[in-house]
């Protein structure tokens, strides 16, 4: 095991993440995991290049090896050995030893090189993959970091990230159009399942679908707060707590929808309007505070088709960059 990176500067949004924990919610641990899985996979694909399996197998996308998730940018890493890294997702200024470099390409770093990630200008979350088997403490087979649960490795300034480096990665790059396809449009349409409501919510759902919301700056990995007109005509107050699914749209008494993300509490008592599709959660994770979102109802069969299309698109992009198919 070799020291790979030294964290030079960091903040609460710099987190080691994989696909998250399974089977831990009954004990009260959240799911955790990378919020924008497609971007995380593309970063991984650039440096590892072992993707894809010849057949399109969507289940593989639910097993992501660790990457560093960065919210808002603004951090620096020093390479402690020769490694290849790639940054995919949000776009912002990247520098190696103060020289500008680009997102979405493999970057070869020598020991002592400093990678600086500036504030993102488009998108909210970037993923940094390293061509190594990263070693980090695991709980329920996952090394995903959750600060409030004190699980996983905290990437605070001064922390070293260790692992076993792999063979030097080939030079690979992600087309600019693909990088842009990962970023949400100015008004992001989110698909949700109205069937997953916890009460007879037709009037509230109609209001939700008509209105335009903004992502609140108070959003985090636990949830996205939406600001807009209140949905309630007559607020319903908390019911008995029930276990929550990822992407659940809660409606607190203030009438502003709250969309739960991967680090949400396992149980909660606010009435629920429905649940977002997984591919909409990935997109929402990139929508910056102040930007707009809309909610669009889908049926389960529609959702399944769109989800398959999302994974198929990702599989094709991975196949192209890793060059195992033509």
């Amino acid at each position: 095991m070799t020291p790979l990176l030294n964290v030079v500067s960091s903040h609460h949004g710099v987190l080691l993440q994989d696909a998250g924990r399974r089977g831990a919610q009954a004990a009260g641990f959240c799911q955790a995991g990378a919020l924008d899985l497609p971007s995380a996979w593309l970063a991984h694909g650039l440096v590892h290049g072992v993707w894809p399996a010849h057949d399109f197998v969507p289940t593989q996308f639910y097993q992501l090896p660790p990457v560093i998730e960065i919210t808002h940018g603004n951090c620096r890493f020093e390479a402690l050995t020769a490694i290849t890294v790639a940054h995919v997702g949000a776009l912002g200024p990247l520098r190696v030893n103060q020289q500008p470099v680009t997102c979405g390409v493999t970057l070869s770093l020598k020991a002592g090189d400093v990678l600086e990630i500036g504030f993102y200008r488009q998108g909210l979350r970037g993923y940094l993959a390293i061509n190594a088997d990263i070693s980090a403490p695991r709980l329920y087979q996952s090394c995903s970091r959750v600060d409030r649960e004190h699980v996983g490795l905290a990437l605070t300034a001064g922390q070293q990230l260790c692992g076993t480096p792999k063979q030097a990665a080939k030079t690979r790059s992600l087309p600019y159009v693909v990088q842009h396809a990962l970023l949400p449009p100015p008004v992001l349409q989110l698909d949700y399942l109205p069937q997953a409501a916890s009460f007879e919510a037709a009037p509230e759902q109609a209001a939700l679908e008509q209105q335009l919301y903004r992502v609140s700056p108070q959003s985090n990995r636990m949830g996205v707060r939406c600001t807009g007109p209140s949905i309630w005509q007559h607020p319903r107050y908390s019911m008995r707590s029930e276990a929550l699914s990822n992407g659940t749209i809660q409606l607190p008494p203030d009438g502003q929808p709250l969309v739960l993300l991967n680090d949400h509490q396992t149980i909660g008592g606010y009435p629920r309007l429905g649940t977002l599709a997984s591919y909409s959660i990935y997109a929402l994770a990139q929508q910056r505070p102040g930007q707009f979102i809309r909610f669009n109802p889908v049926s389960l069969p529609e959702l399944q088709i769109k989800r398959d299309q999302c994974w198929y698109w990702l599989w094709q992009q991975l196949a192209k960059i890793t060059g195992t198919t033509d």
Binding site: R22, G23, A24, Q25, A26, A27, G28, F29, P58, T59, Y62, R148, E149, H150, L193, Q195, A196, R240, S241, E242, A243, L244, S245, N246, G247, T248, Q265, T266, I267, T275, A277, S278, L300, L303, Q304, R307
Partner: protein
């Protein structure tokens, strides 16, 4: 007679709800029934299910994405639930474990003990006696790892949450919110009324929904002794009459 309703909770998730005739009150057998239903669903679904999360009268089943049994398993479960209602819908057979926790009820470690006693016109000794008099079923585990929602304290102890939560409640705090009670397993922000302190550390999986928890009052000397040597305390009660 309880009936089960089932609805979609996410693209790979179902929420089962155990409905009882009177929705306002939650009977004390509910956690044991939910636990039984959880075990039964776990057996039925095998590796198709990833998460089984009970909470009060509900059970969330999260399935393995793209498992070949999804979504056909929805119909399987629906049929199975009908069968469950006829076979088990009545009294239960899985009482869970009886677990005991030591508590020092004293204002030195419990900042709200005096005010809770004062609000209800009781002495602090009476608060301790009432709180440790019953075995509490575990209705849910969540909020933080290992935080168990226990119910329901004597009506005389029901105390609303603080209007403004404390920034940090120490680990081990035994607290009341309305008629619920709990022990904070880790230091977190919290708005519950702290009436005692438990000296032994609690792991995230120290209890499950359907277990019952008994609080045993200890004195100052025993409290510090157990804090030094938590292994002296036996969590499980071996001579459980309900088992």
């Amino acid at each position: 007679m309880h009936t089960i309703t089932m609805r979609l909770s996410g693209e790979f998730a179902l929420l089962l709800e155990l409905k009882q005739p009177n929705e306002q009150t939650l009977d004390a057998t509910m956690p044991a029934q939910i636990r039984q239903l959880a075990a039964w669903c776990g057996e039925l679904c095998g590796d198709a299910v990833q998460e089984i999360v009970p909470s009060y009268h509900t059970l969330l089943l999260s399935f393995t994405p793209y498992h070949p049994r999804w979504p056909a398993i929805i119909d399987e479960l629906e049929n199975a639930c009908k069968q469950w209602q006829t076979e088990f819908g009545q009294p239960l057979c899985l009482p869970g474990q009886l677990l005991q926790l030591p508590v020092w009820y004293n204002s030195n470690v419990a900042p709200d003990l005096a005010s809770v006693a004062h609000q209800h016109g009781l002495s602090t000794q009476q608060v301790a006696a009432l709180h440790s008099a019953i075995d509490y079923p575990v209705y849910a585990v969540g909020f933080t790892p290992g935080f168990a929602y226990l119910g329901f304290v004597d009506q005389q102890l029901a105390t609303p949450r603080h209007a403004t939560p404390r920034v940090s409640v120490p680990a081990g705090s035994v607290a009341i919110a309305d008629r619920q009670t709990a022990v904070y397993p880790t230091a977190t922000p919290g708005g519950w009324n702290i009436i005692g302190q438990c000296p032994i550390p609690l792991s995230p999986d120290w209890c499950q929904v359907g277990d019952r928890v008994r609080f045993v009052a200890v004195d100052e000397a025993r409290f510090y002794e157990l804090r030094q040597h938590p292994s002296q305390w036996q969590l499980e009660v071996t001579n459980d009459p309900a088992a």
